[in-house]
């Protein structure tokens, strides 16, 4: 019973975002393939975005856009927090640019004849 109450208190979005961060971290640290590391980074990025957005999530409120459901007078009583949304919006776009840069480094390293495993570049990863 007690464990169930603890479980009910956990925010499902933040929990799944945190688990995705951990999964991505595991992939970054444990996998040797450069492309797999980039995939793990993008999974981690999605997890971080979910965690940030869940901090401003207020149950049962509408999106921060004025329409018939929420007019200007009752805006702060009916809408969710817009600040994390603005932050995550910019983070997603930067994430694509950083992923593309990461992948072009990987392509470049591989074209230089090094293979796609991170362990073939000089020292061991650990």
């Amino acid at each position: 019973m007690n464990a169930l109450e603890v479980l009910a208190k956990i925010n499902p979005v933040a929990a799944s975002g945190a688990v995705l961060v951990l999964v991505g971290l595991w992939g970054v640290m444990a996998k040797p393939n450069l492309f797999k590391i980039a995939v793990a980074f993008s999974v981690m990025e999605t997890g971080v975005n979910l965690v940030i957005l869940s901090v401003g999530y207020i149950r049962g409120r509408t999106a921060p856009i004025l329409d018939s459901a929420a007019d200007a007078a009752s805006a702060s009583a009916r809408m969710t927090d817009p600040v994390p949304q603005a932050l995550v919006l910019t983070a997603i776009v930067i994430g694509l640019a950083v992923t593309a840069l990461m992948l072009s480094y990987a392509v470049r390293l591989k074209a230089g004849g090094g293979g796609s495993s991170i362990e073939s570049y000089g020292e061991e990863k650990w």
Binding site: P12, V23, K36, A63, T80, L89
Partner: protein
């Protein structure tokens, strides 16, 4: 309540797809699964009242990121095919499956 259940189901789906993306032996499968994580995440963003973020995540996270990954993969395969006769690599380092 219905929203909570949908978010919970989406969370389990995302975690499963994320673990699959890290574990998959084939890079193509892992790229597609990471795109799936982003797609489910954009549905979650929509349920949480963030349509702006949901649009960006659906278009960028699961659309363009996958295209970028696939182009990069194609180019590295191309580089492989061109000098595969000169260079012999161990298959374990290619698949990335070995931990």
């Amino acid at each position: 309540m219905a929203t909570d259940i949908a978010i919970l189901a989406a969370g389990i789906l995302m975690i499963a797809a994320g673990v699959g993306a890290v574990l998959a032996k084939s890079l193509l499968v892992s790229i597609i699964l990471s795109g799936g994580v982003s797609l489910v995440a954009s549905a979650v963003f929509l349920l949480m009242g963030a349509p702006d973020v949901a649009m960006a995540e659906a278009a960028i996270g699961s659309g363009l990121t996958m295209v970028v990954f696939l182009y990069a993969l194609a180019r590295s395969k191309q580089a492989d095919a061109e000098d595969s006769d000169e260079r012999v690599e161990s298959p374990a380092s290619e698949t990335g499956g070995a931990v």
